[in-house]
Amino acid sequence: MIWREFKALGTDIVITVRLGAEQQNILVEAEKAVIDFETKFSRFIIGNELFKLNNSSHEKQVVSKTMAELLKEARHYYLETKNIFDPTIIGSLEAVGYDKKFDLINSGSDRKKPDLKKIKEIFLSRPKMDDLKIEGRTIRRPLGFKLDFGGIGKGYIIDFLSKKILSPFKDYWISAGGDLIVSGYQDNNSGWDIGVQDPLRSERDIFYINNKGRKLGVATSGTIKRTGKVGNFSWHHIIDPRSGLPVINDVLSVTVISSSAVRADVFAKTVLILGEKEGLDFIENKNDSACLIFIKHKKPIFSKRANIFLKKI
């Protein structure tokens, strides 16, 4: 196995793959693809393609092929999750303080407490995903329509690496800050053991998920990271699209296993927002997905299919 680690998308990227030493350039190409993706689609880079989309004064635009695919993917999940996954929540994120790349956000001590009523008002009146029309690479959307691919980007790019760049290889895993795509087997021909982070003791794992040789996407979402304080107002980055405010429930974190990284990524956030009962129902209705839900002061809950992959530490 050969692996490569680097920083991108505001997190650590690790690519591990069984390949010959002479094929190592594949990993460089993969890194380059991630950097290119971040360059074009990060919300934090002024002047990139997403910036232009968000700030254009034209309702009709021709976008790149990748942008068109991302938009279609985003709309698909918006519909599949019944509007819970919603990449237009950007305004709310910015209003509560998530307006710079996470590692650049200051303590916020100089900021004022956000006006929650105003946030909600702006949020609810924003142009919605329903207003987005896509025909090939031509899109139409109302002015003021703003997107953030933060909820889909990491999953999308590691699926892309898996499908396009690592397609000649069978045994590998790719991680983007804990969102994973795993395929095949480790050196000893057993599946990959994927550690699942304990939401209360982040340094340790609480379970393993074993892929048993299958290609799986795995992602975890929670409210314990990417948090901040603006004045006396504490926030985190998971916004409930029904209220426009950071989600409030007892779920600490959700790990989803699915057929792709982007599905796992989107569904993990969806379950987190929906909460324990509704979230579990949502996953049970997906025949390619399973989940582990960690709740405050309770034992973790597993969907039925989760048992296929779970392995005790």
Binding site: T16, I35, E49, K101, D179, V182, V196, K225, S253
Partner: protein, 343 residues
Amino acid sequence: MTEYHLNIKKIDKNTPGIVILELVNSKNEPIFDFEPGQYVMISYKNQQGQDEDKHAFSIASSPVKNTSIRLGIRVGGNFTQGLLNLNPNQEIIVTGPYGNFIFDEKKVPNPVFIAGGIGITPFISALNYVVDRDLKNKVSLIYSTRTVQGTAFFSEISNLGKINPNISVLFSFTEEPGVSEDQRILYQRIDAPIIKNFIGNISEKTFFICGPTPFMKAMINNLLSLGVKKNQIKMEEFSMIPDNNFGQYLRNIGYALSFAAVLFTISFNLISKTSAASTKKNYNPISVSSINQAANNRLIDVQAAKNKALTEQISTGTQTVPMFTSAPTPVPMTAPRPRTRVS
């Protein structure tokens, strides 16, 4: 990349809207080798004692006289405004040199430099280099600005043209009414007939264009209308935010394959691989240089540096970023294992 702690030797604020910094090291020794057309990243401590984020600026001095470097900077955002408050001897942290928008006298015998505004800076380096080396290359410069008063390096360029007879200069002032008996000065925008009249035969020329996006668009149009081939044109964009339509525009005129390949730092070497005329170049719609005179987002700089390193690795097959295998030596390394965590 090595960091150089340099000191300001001189700050020139004589040209409205422009600040020219001359930087030296404490021992007055050569700072680093660079090539005409390259740029550096700089940062400094602001009045609050905080380090400003790094910003990129072209070197506007001769590589031959490398005991100092000079930067010509248009004052716009907070970073460049802050430069006006600096004093001689104050420290500037410099990394570099970077960039492939290079004048190579052996590969380009007859360059035509076309500059808009502060896009002159890489060419100032090249012109001084031609003079210092007493090169025999036939060098033409077309330099367009709004007014005489706002023209950086006006006197210097005029003198360089006098020192080396192989350098021809044409100034164009677009917002200043006037008539000049001096044929080197025009009071109108540059158009195709002016270019043709100034440089004559276009067939053996290589055109370097640097300036704001609208200016570059206009110049490309002019050159193409004169029958200049695409592989004779080398560009570097200087603007606040790259123009979305400009990328499309360039694609429309046939650059699509080259430009779409890499978002950042598409070297002109890449273009030259697909064309017979091989000269060093670079352009892309969101290039590092495009932020030279702008808000210069630190993130973009980081992205560009990463991308450049990766592009070089792919093209050369070398690995400069650590790569570990399962049997590393001499220090054993443990392979990472997959772990899902809250992201």
